[in-house]
Amino acid sequence: MFEAADLWPPIRLTLELATVTTLVLLALGTPIAWWLARSHAPWKEAVAAVVALPLVLPPTVLGFYLLIALGPDGPGGWIAALAGARTLAFTFEGLVIGSVVYSMPFVVQPIRNAFAAVGDRPLEVAATLRASPWDAFWSVAVPLARPGFMTGAVLGFAHTVGEFGVVLMIGGNIPGQTRVLSVAIYDYVETLRWTEAHILAGGMLAFSFVVILAMMLLDRRIGRTGT
């Protein structure tokens, strides 16, 4: 039996998760990207490698460690205890944490590259024009690195929407709480509800296409207005 109303909760949850995750990623990823782009510390690349780990780790491995970390005996459980809960696993907050870790490289890398491309000179110019380092960061570095932020935000958002393995490991399949799109599709296929699976999968396909197209157009526009 096809129920359109059933399709909406996972879509809404997925969009919520991706939005929150992207915002957290921009807030956390920007200082990390800045430090990676500008620091001369010898162990900088080690930090970069840790950030990039999710690119190569199987999602199930990442999900397994996250499950332990978020569970009652991990730091996640300790934090949950402060809020009166037992665990962060199988919660929306847990999903956000997992998604942030999982999508981090997709946000940090483009922003880091953009900051590196800005170089020292504009910041030196800003300093000689009496801008404090904090002022120069916001008035010069961030606007000049805007293409990197755009790319990072789009990639972070899209990647969170599409994640499956990590969600399954740490989120389970609780409708309205952790049952996101990709899990819902998997469910529908398992239970042979092809219509719903088609609608969601087709939607994802269209969404991904629009995202990629938007990024390319954005890139071209920025390329034209030029530096």
């Binding site: 030196e124 300093a127 000689t128 024009l129 009496r130 120069a136 030029g226």
Partner: protein, 378 residues
């Protein structure tokens, strides 16, 4: 602790990659002081240290304020130093329009104690950038970009303007286009400038003071005219050796269209109507345009025959064919110094030795473009 309010005292020492820098100089808080020397001699490093963009040990006092004194643990961060910095290559903010770039400096200049600044309109007019205000930096030519960068630096109301070879990345026409604006700044503004260059032609038109550098050391410092006529310095043996003098128009002969300019110890007559009495013009006398006679010449086509006394005679080349003769103008030899390059044969025949009285014949005088008339070149 207030030092002399009218000078910039700088001393920096340290290693910079392959070589060591150890410089100390004093510059006046007015006019253009040029740091001159071959590429890689550390000029730019001195400028960066002055702005605080780079840190070497040393001291820096600007008009009585201490910007750096390692003995006292003072080091002002770059954004707390009242400098305007014009970089060698275009350094406009790509994400801002020309107006946005100009405003960037102006908006952050409001700290009390800064020099009274120029108004936005004045700077825009002075640099001829009114038509560019709404453009993006990417749409400007190299010369236009540098003019905007200079305007941006000026609008931050600096006490000291630092220019790091602002013309070096420009081609010849763009340079010629921008030089009159720099000359206008030089004449019209009271902001002192430290100006880095390895092009003596540029400095002949702009500099008042010269700090000569070589391999991280200061080899000489003084007025431009003084150093050009110093036999111990390489300026004198350069192919295009010349002296640069500042003159003041005292009279114009309307009949013959000749202008008389007073320089220290002499009056020079130059062709053309070169402005009204009292106007200052910079002129340049090439060593190859100067010759000497022992007696006052009669029946010569050369207008400028000036009484002088020989100060020094030094060989020009290895063959010992030519010598550089430096002469001080005026009956009392207290005036400006000029340099003449003559053959050793003539020098010996005329017995041009230090202390000898002679007449300097100047075949031609080049008037360097002045702020009053930027269009008239030479």
């Amino acid at each position: 602790m207030r030092a002399d309010g009218g000078t910039i005292e700088a001393a920096f020492a340290g290693t910079l990659g392959a070589f060591s820098l150890d410089v100390a100089f004093t510059a006046p808080m007015r006019g253009i002081t040029a740091l001159f020397g071959p590429s890689g001699c550390g000029k730019t490093a001195v400028l960066r240290c002055t702005a605080g963009l780079q840190r070497l040990t040393g001291t820096l006092r600007v008009g009585g304020a201490t910007w750096q004194d390692d003995a006292m643990g003072v080091f002002r961060k770059p954004h707390r130093r009242s400098v305007g910095y014009v970089f060698q290559e275009a350094s406009l903010f790509a994400h801002l329009s020309v107006r946005g770039n100009l405003d960037y400096g102006a908006r952050r200049s409001g700290t009390p104690g800064h020099a009274p600044g120029l108004a936005f309109g004045e700077v825009v007019d002075l640099l001829g950038i009114a038509a560019l205000l709404d453009r993006a930096p990417a749409m400007l030519s190299g010369g236009e970009r540098q003019r905007v960068a200079i305007g941006r630096a000026l609008l931050s109301r600096p006490r000291l303007l630092l220019m790091d070879e602002p013309l070096a990345s420009l081609d010849r026409p763009a340079k010629e286009d921008i030089l009159p604006y720099l000359e206008a700044l030089h004449e019209g503004l009271s902001i002192p400038m430290l100006y880095v260059s390895h092009d003596i032609a540029e400095l002949e038109r702009l500099a008042d003071m010269l700090v000569l550098m070589d391999r991280g050391r200061v080899t000489a410092a003084g007025s431009l005219a003084e150093l050009e006529a110093d036999p111990r310095l390489p300026l004198l043996t350069a192919n295009e050796a010349a002296v640069t003098l500042d003159g003041e128009v005292i009279a114009v002969d309307e009949d013959y269209a000749l202008t008389s300019l007073a320089i220290a110890g002499a009056v020079l007559v130059v062709p053309g109507r070169q402005g009204g009495p009292g106007q200052r013009r910079r002129l340049r006398i090439r060593a190859s345009d100067v010759s000497f006679t022992r007696a006052r010449p009669v029946e010569t086509s050369i207008l400028n025959c000036l009484a002088a006394r020989i100060v020094s005679v030094t060989p020009q080349d290895r063959d010992d064919a030519q010598v550089n003769v430096v002469a001080a103008l005026g009956e009392d030899a207290a005036g400006a110094r000029v340099v003449g390059r003559v053959t050793r044969k003539s020098q010996e025949a005329l017995d041009l030795v230090p202390g000898a009285e002679a007449f300097v014949q100047v075949k031609s005088v080049a008037l360097l473009a002045s702020a009053a008339t930027p269009a008239s070149e030479r």
